[in-house]
């Protein structure tokens, strides 16, 4: 193995993240923008105005949204690719495609779903501008906790595997993760800044849409990156026939 394969895997991760960002962007645009608009309409009717409009709503909903979602895809694709490089061949007996899908699932859960269950996405008008610092800190803290604890659980699971077997080691590690996350949920302060009278259905639909965007992004990334990584790491003629680790090593060094 040389670092060329890390570079190749990283570049593919960023590209797969960009590509997976496209359907996620479509979902965000087609399903999400109407909710953002409704929330802004509520906001304008009820409270402070935003003052001078620096960026028009049209631009925010198109170019701005695309910038945000696609950069998010590239950045997380790159990070997921680095995690893939570490996980490949180290976590169970999974090949590149299965490893990529597992990394995606792990990223969806730890980077998004676990923090979301404590601090869900909020539309405009929900959230007191004065507490933005606290809310941002708590949200990023929750992401960091979730990712670090997941890595810890993974290491725990690998340690336990020789004694308990893969299945029960995985279940035990998962349970340990859930318990510690549960404690974090209980200890960290709750945030409830939904203004009185804000439509419950709109909040619910906005949050579902936010979750859908992530599902689409990570499903797309897992499948696409798995395909690219498999093509890079498994020699075409040999795939499925040549169980020779040295052949794979040679192929990845190309």
């Amino acid at each position: 193995m040389n670092s060329i394969s890390v570079r190749a895997l990283l570049v593919r991760g960023m590209l797969a993240g960009l590509a997976a960002g496209v359907p996620a962007l479509l979902v965000a645009y087609l399903l999400g923008e109407s909710k953002v608009d409704s929330a802004i309409a509520y906001e304008d009717g009820h409270s402070h105005d935003h003052g001078v409009e620096l960026v028009s709503r049209t631009l925010q909903a198109t170019g701005g949204l695309a910038t945000g979602v696609l950069i998010y895809g590239v950045a997380l694709g790159g990070i997921a690719a680095l995690a893939f490089c570490v996980a490949l061949g180290r976590v169970g007996g999974f090949g590149p495609r299965a490893t990529a899908v597992l990394i995606s699932l792990g990223a969806l859960l730890t980077v998004y779903v676990v923090p979301f269950l404590k601090y869900p996405a909020n539309p405009p008008a929900v959230g007191d501008p004065d507490t933005i610092g606290k809310r941002t800190t708590l949200y990023f803290l929750m992401i960091a906790l979730s990712v670090l604890l997941a890595v810890g659980a993974l290491i725990l699971g690998r340690r336990l595997a020789p004694r308990l077997g893969n299945w029960y080691a995985t279940v035990t590690a998962g349970a340990a993760f859930a318990v510690v996350i549960g404690v974090a949920y209980a200890v960290l302060p709750a945030i409830d800044e939904v203004p009185e009278g804000f439509p419950a259905t709109l909040l619910w639909q906005f949050r579902l849409t936010a979750l859908t965007i992530q599902l689409v992004l990570w499903t797309g990334f897992g499948l696409l990156y798995g395909h690219l990584a498999e093509r890079l790491l498994v020699p075409k003629a040999a795939s499925g026939q040549q169980p020779d680790p040295a052949a794979r090593t040679a192929a990845t060094a190309r």
């Binding site: 394969s5 570079r7 990283l10 965000a28 999400g32 923008e33 953002v36 620096l54 960026v55 925010q60 701005g64 949204l65 695309a66 910038t67 945000g68 979602v69 950069i71 998010y72 590239v74 950045a75 997380l76 790159g78 990070i79 680095l82 490089c85 570490v86 490949l88 061949g89 180290r90 007996g93 999974f94 090949g95 590149p96 979301f116 601090y119 869900p120 996405a121 909020n122 539309p123 405009p124 501008p129 933005i132 610092g133 941002t136 800190t137 949200y139 906005f206 936010a210 965007i213 992530q214 790491l233 499925g240 040549q242 169980p243 020779d244 680790p245 040295a246 052949a247 794979r248 040679a250």
Partner: protein, 74 residues
Amino acid sequence: MAHPAAPAPKAPAAPAITPISLKKIAPWAVFFGVLMLVLLYFVGAEQGATSLISGADVHEWVHDGRHLLGFPCH
């Protein structure tokens, strides 16, 4: 690396994959990991809780993405 003459006696469906050495990954992980986190910071938090650039242009430009991607926006 030596090439064994005969294929290793592993299950053909899931042949073992040589892990990439951590030393090879580390420089990429450090440099690009930080770069990716900086990108995420600009999409998710700049000109919200903290500001490296004055004004609100970055915030306003990525406003909708920030809400829909789950970041606290304002």
